[in-house]
Assembly symmetry: C2
Homo-oligomer: 242 residues x 2
Amino acid sequence: MTNPTAAILIIGDEILTGRTREGNGYFLAGVLADAGIDLREIRVVGDDHATIVSAVRGLSAAHDHLFTSGGIGPTHDDITADAVADAFGAAIGVRDDARAILAAHYAACGMEFNAARLRMARIPEGARLIDNPVSAAPGFSLGNTHVMAGVPNIFQAMVASVLPLLTGGKPLVTASLRVMRPEASVAEAFGALAASMPEVAMGSYPFVQDGTYGTNLVVRGTDPQQVALGLSRLRALFPEGQ
Amino acid sequence: MTNPTAAILIIGDEILTGRTREGNGYFLAGVLADAGIDLREIRVVGDDHATIVSAVRGLSAAHDHLFTSGGIGPTHDDITADAVADAFGAAIGVRDDARAILAAHYAACGMEFNAARLRMARIPEGARLIDNPVSAAPGFSLGNTHVMAGVPNIFQAMVASVLPLLTGGKPLVTASLRVMRPEASVAEAFGALAASMPEVAMGSYPFVQDGTYGTNLVVRGTDPQQVALGLSRLRALFPEGQ
């Protein structure tokens, strides 16, 4: 059985204009690796309806899961829910279950349940709500697409809510060896080892430390025995590695 | 005249597996905003030939410029140059100009010019080299696609080499107002103002400070007078803002 695949779609002009350094993709990439879901693409697009619709259609069709981040708040530039509904041809409007969650939350906090906040109860027909323990306003899953907030602590809480509901695969196992040699001086032996072990993926990542070149050699795979074997062969090639 | 558009393609399994937090996209997004080049998409894909070819074809056709990051080093997992050549139907091999640059650099440093390093002189036919003042091995521009290294300081140096050769447009101008009110309580007035000023884009970004909700209201556009007008109208709406 092969692992399910996934893509992440990050939505927001603030990323593309250089205002905000995106971190939700990085967070979720690590979580998916542990869950045995193979992340194949991260895409960042702006707050444009047609672009979001097109990206949701393409990425949800190409992968087992699509996770989105951003654009489900109370303001006019929050257009993700409508775009996802359009992408799947689903109707969208204020849903009673979402409204009840928000009403209870604002009553408990003594906050006004105004028109802007009611906007966050707009959920596509047929979607399942994603619990938001931070600020109540829910995300939702429509088909294989999981729609979450962009604010990092809320995004992370929503990931924790939705991930246990998904069927994962074999966790990605990683091992690495750090050698104080430039990448080019390990390339030939490392490449030959990688070619001899197609069951795992091997990558090399150069760095400079105190003016000296070094390389991290990484072995990745879903079979822990193969990854351990790859690491032991790496150690044999580069006994000085750590 | 409208600004030219661009996309960024980040290539590397280390991003999709959660090993590395990507930062080149964030860096270049800011540079492009200042250069008057509208960034429309950032995409991250893994070290897979067919996926890179397809992404390069799609993104280079859809935008005035495509910038890529990663996969042009000396090891077996550096496959970007071949994939970009394939995407444009260009031949690729060791090129004399690139070999001469590398030979001079390694001679000056007393480093061996081995087979792995020679791999970095593989440049598609018809490409223009991008200067790499950090470690010599060049990037290249093929058509509208600018291929650069993933190591951040080398990526930044290559951006500095290639950007002055491109024709930009009007720089993106940004102004913002910080109000200590939750996003939902500014949404109605802010949305109405945004709708009345289609010449600029307006976005809102919530935050929490010492347990209190606040919102950054941002005005963006390429006409500085319109952005200033937007900011002054925002100040009139929210005189307590800073």
